[in-house]
Amino acid sequence: MVRIFLIILCFLSYGNFNYAIDIFLIFSLINLAFYSFLKEKKIKLSDFLIFISSSYLIEIFLGLPLFISVVALSIPLLLLSNIINNFFVHFSIISIFIFILSLITLYFLYPEIFIIMKFKDYFLYFLVLIFLGISLRLDGKEQN
């Protein structure tokens, strides 16, 4: 529910603020998509739909071919999910992994942003990392 709310928020907010916030919203959507796919070994339908919707918004905003990420990234991400979730890894490491994966994806989408951004601008992005960690932990408690 929180993720759906965040997706709607990103959908409405994009384009209404400055360039840096727009990129941050894209980064949040990437995180949401990866988190939804990688958080469990056995992917649920709702998680998959959230992945589709968040990736769909990214494709719309960036002018990419629609549903290309669903088609192209689903299988590699499924493999990655199996690798991560088969080993017992601490949730904080998983959250850092998702964060770095999202940063790499953002780099491929916006290579110039890493030239423009200063070190202090990354602090906003670390908020996403914190929330990733918190949500993974809460999700783990729910499963237990």
Binding site: K42, L45, I52, P65, L66, V71, I75, L79
Partner: protein
């Protein structure tokens, strides 16, 4: 690997949707356009509220600035009023001069030059004709002058000419001022005018020789002549030297 049938089914569906969009880009573009259309419609209430809030904040900030500005202007205004009062006090001595030059500037009488075209020697009946008439603004009763000396008055006019009765003619009569007293005088066909009566006062006033006789005019007092005595009878002697080539007719007199 895909351990959920529903997820697999959805993946297949989206795979075919992706292929459709790839083969028919028009549908992809339409989907994007509809998405942005929905986004715009959903944004409207939020952007409306946002703009209202922004305006309200802007008004609050500008109100603060305006209040500060008003206070500053009030102080400045007070300072300028004080300076103005000081300057008024300093320049009050020039006020009279200001009135002379700007408000009570004396109006000059309007006159036009005229030349005699009729009897110049005044031999026949002490009247002559000038080359200015009603089209030049001349009216019956206007004074004909040489400098400030009265030569005569307009008796009759045509469009381009006027007949002037001279002050020495027996047809001439006028109201004159001598020593702030009004008298009625008339011409005698001689070089002097005789008194008919005093206008207002019953008591007789003793006239002195060489008193100037004026004719009251709206703008300038005209000179008729001086008091003299012939056989102990007071008369007004007109100036002997009159330049008839330099006559003017007082139009607004």
């Amino acid at each position: 690997m895909i351990n959920n049938k529903k997820v697999f089914l959805i993946y297949i569906v989206f795979f075919f949707v992706f292929l459709t969009f790839l083969l028919f880009p028009k549908y992809e573009n339409n989907t994007k356009l509809y998405s942005f259309f929905i986004k715009e419609k959903l944004e409207k209430p939020f952007s409306f509220i946002g703009s209202k809030i922004t305006k309200f904040i802007f008004l609050l900030e500008s109100n603060k600035e305006h209040l500060n500005k008003i206070t500053q202007l009030e102080k400045e205004n007070k300072y300028l009023i004080n300076i103005n009062n000081y300057l008024k006090t300093i320049t009050s001595k020039y006020t009279d001069q200001y009135y002379i030059f700007h408000e009570n500037y004396p109006t000059a009488p309007i006159s036009i030059g005229a030349s005699i075209i009729g009897d110049k020697n005044l031999l026949l009946n002490k009247s002559f004709v000038i080359n200015k008439g009603s089209l030049n603004g001349v009216n019956i009763g206007n004074y004909v002058i040489d400098g400030v000396n009265v030569i005569g008055r307009i008796k009759s006019i045509t469009n381009y000419n006027a007949e002037v009765v001279s002050v020495t003619s027996s047809d001439y009569g006028d109201e004159v001022i001598i020593d702030n007293e009004l008298f009625i005088v008339t011409g005698t066909n001689n070089n002097y005018l005789s008194f008919l009566r005093q206008k207002n006062d019953i008591e007789e006033i003793s006239l002195k020789k060489n008193l100037k006789v004026f004719i009251k005019n709206d703008f300038v007092d005209l000179t008729l002549g001086k008091i003299d005595f012939i056989n102990q009878q007071a008369v007004i002697v007109v100036p002997q030297i009159i330049n008839l080539d330099n006559l003017r007719v007082l139009i607004n007199g």
